[in-house]
Symmetry: C2
Subunit: 542 residues, 2 copies
């Protein structure tokens, strides 16, 4: 006879059914038994330097695997991940928070137990504001159903969820689930779907230069492969939003890279804004991802499909969700035999260093572009790294907190990405300001066998903000990340001030089988071509 | 004619009136103008490595100055300090959060602006759960009054507060305040106060060996000097709670050190639990500060004074707050001419290293104790450092997250403490697990001219938890903090494995005028005498 079902056993089973093989987090006494039992169930929680790093790692894992778990102790652990969970909300990431808590019997005494805030439910109240669904597993009869309910809601809405487990519930036998995990996709109205598909096909038939602009919801709904297949057959150029960078591989002959309004290269802007038709698929219309709202997409040439509906010019078809629309349009186009619009060559970046020439942001990007290849996954931090990366071609996916824009995301994300897709080595582009926040998490990556390449774009402070308003608040303590290997006991570091130093450092960094930290020093006032384009465009608007 | 009043000008003035001369925080575009104007008003916001560090620094500043400020940008900044603010709530710290935010006009569009979470008020909702008072300064007519209201509530309740400033309000002229900051102390019932004082005096008269047990509320209400004066005149032995360690200087002839139940040395436990009378003043009765509730204080010999009332044996006198009671009892005792109970000698710790002998936690504590002197303020991190510090005599104050127990508090707190009391050099005792979380903040301390001595008690992982339940979740990436100076570009590091190495390292660390990082390696299974005493006592209870 099997052991009685417990919360950790059931939770581990459910997560593994979804290809989630580990979580990230830091233990504490309220979570000790939970972590221990999860480990015994074959579901390890990987330690990081700080809980913030664990949450960013889990977020990255979730983006790549479709679900991720950050596990924490009560109060001091839970609240340390509030910001990362808010970011997961903003960017539609299915991130599950699993928190230990005082026992039901302990909490009933209303005693001043350590890690308590106002009341024992304060943490739950905070996460009600930051997650889609919440559960406190204080009842053995409903615990399994509650886990299924939260996971169902997380997957259905692609938003974070919260599960709190009182420590005296961890080994209590629980009832089996009654319903299971049954994510509900946004509903389809078949008649409207058919009408919308016909409407889109009609537009496509007469269209000389249509383009696709693809956003994160295509990724979240698991439609990337479909999209690549369809676009390739139809020979349609594909741009992505910055939240979906690399979803369509950026060295593909049909890839336009990232369209972010004026942030993007002029060639991309012209192709998109001058297209006969823009098929916008699952793109969030946010200030940052639309280049401070400099993006210009004329309504009459825009098909905008969201997670729930599609708008074609002035007509909106309700209940025509992306997940149903994309395959339907693909099938219709296939049946119609639409001929390819474009035949282009794959992009093959090269870099020829000028000896003894000091680095600029533009040249750092060019060098990194040339050293990236199909073995790499890219992760970029918000700010200048994110802007600059528009001129960088991701051979595979690229992860970024591209809308919520929480600095310090990228280095810890490398751990999650490296475990989610072990066949790709994470390459991180991060500023010196963000590296100060979470750069030490590279130690956690190494500890768990992930060996990222970290390129620190060091412009001496909060460089993205200096053009807006400069003052001592943009100056930060200078660090020498290239010396971090002596602190973490593994890895190699390089300091590059010139083009040839950087080229050599990247060459060695890509070859080494260890953690590699390359600090690329650029002038404090230098800006990326992307940020210059944005500033120029905003200047023209004034 | 003076410039029109603005929010930054008014806020800076109010803070400086309270001896708050700087804040801690990280800028962002929603907070740029705010930081800039505060700087121009002579109120700089000091940058840290990450917002979490800024909040801990501000918390330490608040404990020492009576008010502290953490300033952040919206969303990504605000939510990063949620945990630290929760800790300030739990431990009665008057910490003010000042957050930038999207402009009133921007928010009215309901657009997807970066750093937005669910709604524009999500951050405010979270801080309603974590603070005593909140204000969004969106109205020029009431902004000054709202600032005064929040500061008043923060000081009155000794809890954190929250002020959000939309960026389009920063330079708008505002109306002058109508009421000012008028903290209200808990109310006094004069008749009950007189009765309580007489009751206490009656107990003291017949008491052979009374002791005082003093908690953080004595500190928060500014009664420390009174207490030291009174206890010294009356010759009464004084113990503190771990939240108030050092409030009564621990090398004073009458100091008993910290009473934390079974965690404390037997001599202290005997003196307290065997006392003819315990005068408990402003002590929080929490699991951790009471040594996992092992503290035994018999009701009939206990006078327990809280922030609002006093209980003498079975009798409670309502509306007899600490702030009124303590001076009244002191005056009455003085008038009565109570003769001193004790004449003892000041404590003068020494350490004689055994050559080539590997370190233990006990010997690290003994060595540190001997090297601490009146020029130092002590800061200890939760966990083993906190437990172990019970055997360490603080010559001045000691700061700790001793109840909320948020790991990683100590290193960033050194920055806040060093600026709040520049005449004392912060000496930090921190475990390797906590150092991993926030140890890099030592770079921010150095950047702002604070040169702490950091002693990293390295027991190879989460050592406090191993005796409870051990597994891979207690293992962490090993760091070599002694090599951090090469990363932060300043300071010196030492690795000590033996008693003589530690003695020499501490000698040099105390002498150097730079940041000093001493890593003291102890066996993984070794525990402090304090933790052993607790474990033994809990074992006996079972």
């Amino acid at each position: 006879m099997a052991d009685p079902l417990t919360i950790p056993a059931f939770l581990a089973m459910r997560l593994k059914q979804r290809r989630v093989e580990c979580g990230f987090g830091i233990v504490g006494d309220y979570a000790l038994r939970l972590f221990s039992d999860l480990f015994d169930e074959g579901f390890p929680i990987h330690v990081t330097e700080d809980e913030q790093g664990a949450a960013f790692a889990a977020d990255a894992y979730a983006r790549l695997r479709g679900l991720g778990v950050v596990a924490v102790t009560y109060g001091v652990g839970g609240l340390k991940v509030a910001n990362a969970v808010a970011g997961a909300w903003a960017e539609n990431v299915p991130l599950l928070v699993v928190s230990g808590a005082p026992g039901v019997k302990e909490a009933a005494t209303d005693a001043l137990l350590h890690h308590r805030i106002k009341n024992f439910d304060t943490q739950l109240r905070v996460f009600r504001d930051l997650t889609q669904a919440q559960a406190v597993l204080d009842n053995p009869a409903t615990a399994a159903d509650e886990i299924d309910r939260v996971i169902t809601e997380v997957l259905s809405h692609q938003r974070p969820g919260y599960i709190e487990i009182p420590r005296d519930m961890v080994e209590v036998p629980i009832e089996p689930p009654r319903h299971g995990v049954r994510p509900h996709l946004p509903p389809v109205d078949e008649a409207r779907l058919a009408a919308a598909v016909e409407d889109i096909l009609e537009h496509l038939r007469g269209s000389e230069s249509p383009v696709v602009h693809v956003g994160a919801m295509v990724w979240r709904r698991g439609l990337a492969a479909d999209l690549i297949e369809t676009a390739t057959r139809a020979g349609i150029l594909v741009a992505t939003s910055s939240l979906a960078k690399g979803l369509f591989p950026e060295r593909h002959p049909l890839a336009l890279g990232v369209y972010m309004g004026a942030v993007s290269p002029e060639k991309v802007v012209e192709r998109i804004e001058g297209a006969s038709l823009i098929l916008s698929l699952g793109v969030l219309n946010t200030d940052l991802t639309m280049g401070a709202f400099t993006a210009r997409r004329e309504e009459e040439r825009l098909v905008e499909a969201s997670d729930t509906e599609v708008t074609i010019g002035l007509r909106t078809y309700r209940n025509v969700p992306l997940w149903a629309l994309l395959p339907a349009v693909a099938a219709a186009a296939e049946a119609e035999g639409l001929k390819p619009h474009h035949e282009e060559s794959p992009y093959e970046p090269t870099f020829h260093p000028e000896p003894d020439t000091h680095l600029t942001v533009a040249r750092v990007i060019a060098a990194l572009d040339a050293h990236l290849d199909s073995r790499h996954g890219l992760i970029v931090d918000p700010g200048e790294s994110l802007f600059a990366s528009v001129d960088l071609s991701a051979p595979n996916w690229c992860l970024a907190s591209a809308y919520y824009a929480t600095m310090g995301y990228a280095v810890p994300a490398a751990l999650g990405a490296g475990l989610a897709e072990p066949h790709l080595r994470p390459v991180v582009l991060v500023g010196d300001g963000a590296f100060a926040m979470t750069g030490l998490e590279v130690a956690a990556a190494a500890f768990h066998g992930v060996k990222p390449v970290i390129v620190v774009l060091d412009n001496g402070g909060y460089g993205t903000q200096r053009p807006m308003l400069d003052g001592p608040y943009n100056d930060i303590p200078a660090l020498a990340p290239e010396n971090l290997p002596a602190v973490i006991g593994t890895g190699r570091g390089w300091l590059a001030r010139t083009e040839d130093e950087l080229d050599a450092a990247l060459q060695e960094a890509m070859e080494t089988d260890d953690v590699a930290i390359v600090r690329a020093v650029v002038p404090q006032g230098d800006r990326s071509p992307a940020l210059k384009r944005l500033t120029d465009a905003l200047g023209r608007k004034v």
